[in-house]
């Protein structure tokens, strides 16, 4: 059990990195606290697996340090760091039984037979693989194998942390539900630091208390699921979290206030004043589809045509094409039973949910 700290960490696969794009990970400082459940969330190629492998010691960072409980572990191997890791695709020892697979890390540690037996059965029960214990791992299905791989990660009770690298990729969606729930229960029961890498926001926010969103080799926000949803610190977080993502509109500060293609938006004077003080940069207005209100055309300065309605069963997504010159699309999310307007509609953005971004970073607005 340990706190994991990253100090001025950066990594490049190039021998001599010269520009920021050469870095798979740009310089970062970060802390994972003891006993927390964390997720590293990002699209493929954002550097999340690289970061995970650096934490576990499978990869040595080209710059900076990794500290476990304040001690540098840069020079330690994964064995010495005492860490468990579950990989994206199942890794099982084919010739062993499921029991032996689970017992393997414990036997390598030299635990007593009784301890091993107890621990293996506990984990097997938690993962619901008890009936498989005497089977050869070779003949299992992909998701049974993955459960065994996860079990090998969970079975050791002395680890500094357990790292998961997209462990549910090969699992059926229906089963994912159960497994995510299991993992969460296991975390609550065993009180060990867990870091979970995924590109799926549901997996991330289900599993983790706090999520680090990664984009282009950087952690662009570290926060609770609620913070990521309500206050995205970066336009990427707005886009990536939520389905569909945040609507982002290019705006300018004109003489009459916040303007979207020469149409003045109803934004508070105090907000406009704060935006004017912020200096140069590309300004964007962000509003989540959940908060976009479809109103009568007369009730708003912003109008558009309903372009497409997607019925998702539990909710509907309405695409509204604005009647401004570049005709951007704004998405609104309506409940299952809310009526869907047709043709021309007006749009309203509640002040409480308007967010402003300068060069992709959130502009903090004082109330």
């Amino acid at each position: 059990m340990a706190e994991i700290r990253l100090e001025q960490l950066a990594h490049s696969y190039h021998g001599t990195p010269s520009k920021p794009a050469d870095y798979a990970l740009r310089q970062m400082d970060h802390v994972w606290e003891q006993g927390g459940a964390y997720a590293l969330l990002g699209p493929s190629g954002c550097g999340k697996s690289t970061l995970l492998n650096i934490i576990s010691g499978l990869l040595v960072p080209s710059e900076g340090r990794v500290l476990y409980d304040g001690k540098s572990v840069n020079d330690l191997s994964p064995q010495q760091r005492n860490i468990a890791q579950v990989f994206q695709f199942p890794v099982v020892y084919d010739t062993m039984t499921v029991f032996d697979n689970l017992a393997f890390p414990l036997r390598n540690q030299g635990l007593s037979r009784d301890r091993i037996d107890l621990r293996v059965r506990e984990v097997a029960e938690a993962l619901e693989i008890e009936p498989l214990l005497s089977r050869k791992a070779h003949n299992l299905t992909a998701d049974e194998k993955q459960k065994v791989s996860m079990g090998r990660g969970l079975v050791r009770d002395d680890v500094a942390a357990i790292l998961f690298d997209e462990p549910l990729t090969v699992i059926d969606p229906q089963l994912k539900w159960r497994l995510r729930r299991k993992l969460k229960e296991i975390h609550q029961r065993f009180n060990v630091t867990m870091v979970y890498v995924t590109h799926d926001q549901l997996e991330a926010s289900t599993f983790a208390d706090k999520i680090a969103v990664m984009y282009q080799g950087q952690i662009v926000q570290f926060g609770t699921p609620r913070e990521l949803f309500e206050n995205p610190q970066h336009t990427f977080v707005g886009y990536f979290i939520g389905s569909p993502g945040m609507n982002l509109l290019d705006i300018v500060l004109g003489s009459s206030g916040v303007e979207l293609e020469r149409r003045t938006l109803p934004v508070d004077e105090s907000v406009v004043a704060q935006l004017r003080r912020g200096g140069e940069g590309r300004l964007q207005l962000g509003i989540r589809p959940e908060f976009v209100q479809l109103v009568a055309p007369e009730a708003s300065t912003l109008h558009g045509q309903v372009d497409l309605v997607q019925d998702q069963g539990t909710f509907k997504i309405v695409d509204v094409r604005l009647d401004t010159p570049s005709a951007p699309v704004i998405k609104a999310r309506l409940g299952e039973e809310e009526p869907v307007p047709e043709g021309r509609v007006g749009l309203a953005f509640p002040a409480a949910w308007q967010r402003f971004y300068r060069d992709d970073r959130l502009v903090e607005i004082a109330p």
Partner: protein, 365 residues
């Protein structure tokens, strides 16, 4: 041309893969095959394509019996989970390959490849090789190749599974548009109910090699023919609880309450109720509702939604709530669901009643 399957059955070494499948797919339709892994989706598609021959039954295309016509003599294309392209050919040549096979003239090839590439937004990549593309671009190339030859039947076997979900979101919308003005029969296999709904068209539910239900997607979703269909078409699956009707009373799990108006016509007896996870509410409802005390097992949050895993007297339940709600483990709550939103099933699983009436206006309550 329409595709018709009649009593198609396939078993391999005593194990039934497809059991007596009957299906009619109209030209220009978008058909989703929805089912768990190993439900037989891929097998059924292979039978449609002619990659496998059924033991029994017939496959008709435009009325013609094609059951034993090999795939090479049918006009079929297929897109797989893995991004399959010819690694040594450029994107242009990859897309052009089916046309070259069909000996189409050079100008015609160039025209159609460019048209298809533009539709899929990869026209700027035509000179590149597959390994220089991202996953999404590779899959777009594979899709373009499947679409370029104007096949009678295009099969998609979970084509978006290996892509990031944001990309999936975007491609899903595009897929719908791609097929809007075509006479091709599109068949799309997926394990995700949300994908079936988002793609629209018709949905066929498959379970253990059997077709459970088939029809327009929203129709199947709102009026599943039985318990199995209701639980297949929903993620998380529908909640089920035992229910008994006796006189003016009904009992759900161990809770007695007056029989709601919507169940007036039901004869007394044993039933099961089904509750879609997103119909649960935390707030008191202004209409007749069923109230259930529950204990929170775990709360899952996804972007803007919360999935509450609950239990009531050893019955596991899931609620899908809009917004972010934080709950402690073992916290006690009371959940509500409007009576008119309950599904009712016979004990053997057949649907008795599905919620159909829109929300009553306040005046009529």
């Amino acid at each position: 041309m329409s595709l018709q399957l009649d009593n198609v059955t396939l078993s391999v070494r005593g194990e039934t893969y497809i059991d007596n499948a009957c299906l009619m797919l109209e030209p220009g339709s978008f058909n989703v095959l929805l089912g768990h892994t190993l439900a037989g989706k891929t097998t059924l598609m292979r039978l449609m394509a002619g990659l496998d021959m059924p033991d029994r039954g017939t496959v008709r295309l435009g009325g013609r019996d094609m059951t034993h016509v090999p795939v090479r003599q049918r006009n079929v294309s297929m897109v797989y989970q893995q991004f399959i392209n010819y690694p040594t050919l450029t994107v242009f040549d990859n897309i052009a390959s089916p046309l070259k096979q069909a000996k189409v003239s050079r100008q015609e090839i160039a025209r159609r490849v460019e048209e298809t590439a533009e539709m899929l937004g990869i026209q700027h990549l035509l000179g590149r090789y597959p390994q220089e593309l991202s996953g999404g671009q590779q899959q777009r190339t594979a899709m373009a190749r499947a679409l370029v030859k104007d096949a009678d039947l295009v099969l998609f076997d979970e084509p978006l599974v290996n892509l990031d979900y944001k990309l999936r979101e975007a491609l899903r919308v595009e897929m719908r548009k791609l097929f809007e003005s075509r006479h091709t029969i599109a068949v799309y296999a997926t394990t995700e109910p949300a994908e079936a709904l988002a793609l629209g068209g018709t949905t066929t539910l498959l379970h253990q090699g059997r077709i459970v239900q088939s029809g327009p997607s929203d129709e199947v979703y709102r009026h599943p023919c039985n318990r199995e269909a209701a639980s297949l078409f929903g993620e998380p699956p529908i909640n089920l609880m035992p229910m008994t009707i006796q006189g003016d009373e009904c009992r759900i799990a161990d809770l007695r309450q007056p029989r709601p108006d919507v169940w007036r016509s039901l004869p007394a007896g044993e039933y099961q109720v089904g509750i879609r996870p997103h119909h649960w509410s935390l707030q008191p409802l202004e209409e007749p509702a069923f109230r259930l005390p529950v204990v929170v097992r775990v709360a899952e949050i996804s972007g803007s939604e919360t999935f509450l895993h609950l239990s009531h007297d050893r019955i596991d339940l899931v609620a899908h709530l809009i917004g972010i709600h934080e709950f402690g483990v073992d916290q006690a709550l009371e959940m509500q669901v409007a009576c008119r939103q309950l599904f009712v099933f016979e004990p053997d699983g057949d649907l008795v009643l599905s919620p159909s009436s829109p929300r009553p206006t306040l005046a009529s309550v």
